[in-house]
Amino acid sequence: MDLDNLIQRFQKKDTVAFEALYDMYAENICGVINVILKDPERSQELCQDVFVKIWSKSDQYDTSKGRFFTWILNIARNAAIDELRSKSHKNQKKNLPVDSLVGIHENSEDLNGKIDTIGLQSLLKGLKDKCILLIDLLYFKGFTQKEAAKELKTPIGTIKTRIRSCISEIRKNMA
């Protein structure tokens, strides 16, 4: 079953297609939420809420929003960040701890061995901290290129080339 077809059926409220999409992406979406919340139980609950939300917003997806995964990734991290804000009573996106992926990477024992620490460490092997930080901002916190440049006090052009080389290193580690 190809992805485009599944997405079309999902948009017509086909629950079978939606279950297939859930099977494809649920672990990833929960993984993103878990990086932000660092709370495996709460992450699982929120992850399911996020998929119900995705279902209810099915007619809002179109290709101008990018890849389907990118669209649900955006819904997931917004939900997780909202959750974190309501907990910490902080109202600024920029005030969120910027080290979530770095933290989960370095302190994975905190998660009681619930995550695939070995897999994570092998993927991030050899990556510099500024790479991990940039991946965290762009993929897990939903920063735009401009916001990331401002946060890291780096020229915009540098963000682009740096993320290219960071992701390339992960891809090398995968091989």
Binding site: E27, W55, S64, I115, L123, Y139, I163, R171
Partner: protein
Amino acid sequence: MDVKEYIASGVLELYVAGALSPEENLEVQHYALQHPEVKSEIEAIEKSILELTRTTSPKLSKDSFKTVRAQLDDVIQFKPEASERKTPWGNYVGWAASIVLAIGLIGVYLQNNQLKTEIEITNQEKENLEQILSTTQEKVIDKEALLQQLRAKNITVVALGGQAVSPDSYAKAYWNREENKVIIDAQGLPEPPPGYAYQVWSLKLTPLTPTSIGLLEDFATDDSKLFALSNPNESEAFGITLEPEGGSETPTLEQLYTLGAVGP
């Protein structure tokens, strides 16, 4: 566009992250459609992010979708159909009204058709009557003309009496010498058998010389039984014989039905 340069720029990594504007997204998609290398690069980048995020998942139970599935039906019910359900009677009344209207329209249509048919029949009858009137008028005119001819001053009337073959037969000849015309009133002759017709002869008596002046055509169908024939002869008598259809050169005297001499 240099595809390799475009891929190396890092824009595709930003695209997968969702860090581009909608316009930039559409531009990337445009290039992805045009260049398969761009599309496969996007998929490779996405795959690396999927791999990375999978490792941080708190590992879902196998039937975790069930919890999600149980909530989907509630979501579906929030579709805005409630306003229609609020007024079911409005619906029924609407349908009922439509049906009544439809039946009414069908009734009017049928009635209209019926009236059209009746008008057609009436028109047809009117035409028929006009035709009959016109024919009758023509007949009256013909008859009046005929009567005028019979009443003319210089007409010679010859009574033709029945002969041996048919003693009861009779006929009359109205001869207008000036116009060389003779009208035969054949009312007293029986209908000729099929294949035969009456032929009228002008006769000179000394010596007996018959000259054909014509056939009584369409005897059976001519209701008036009056036949106008041309007669330029100095006739002394008129005779009518039964001859084979089309007539004969000389009269068949055995079939002489009526005969009468012109008076002095």
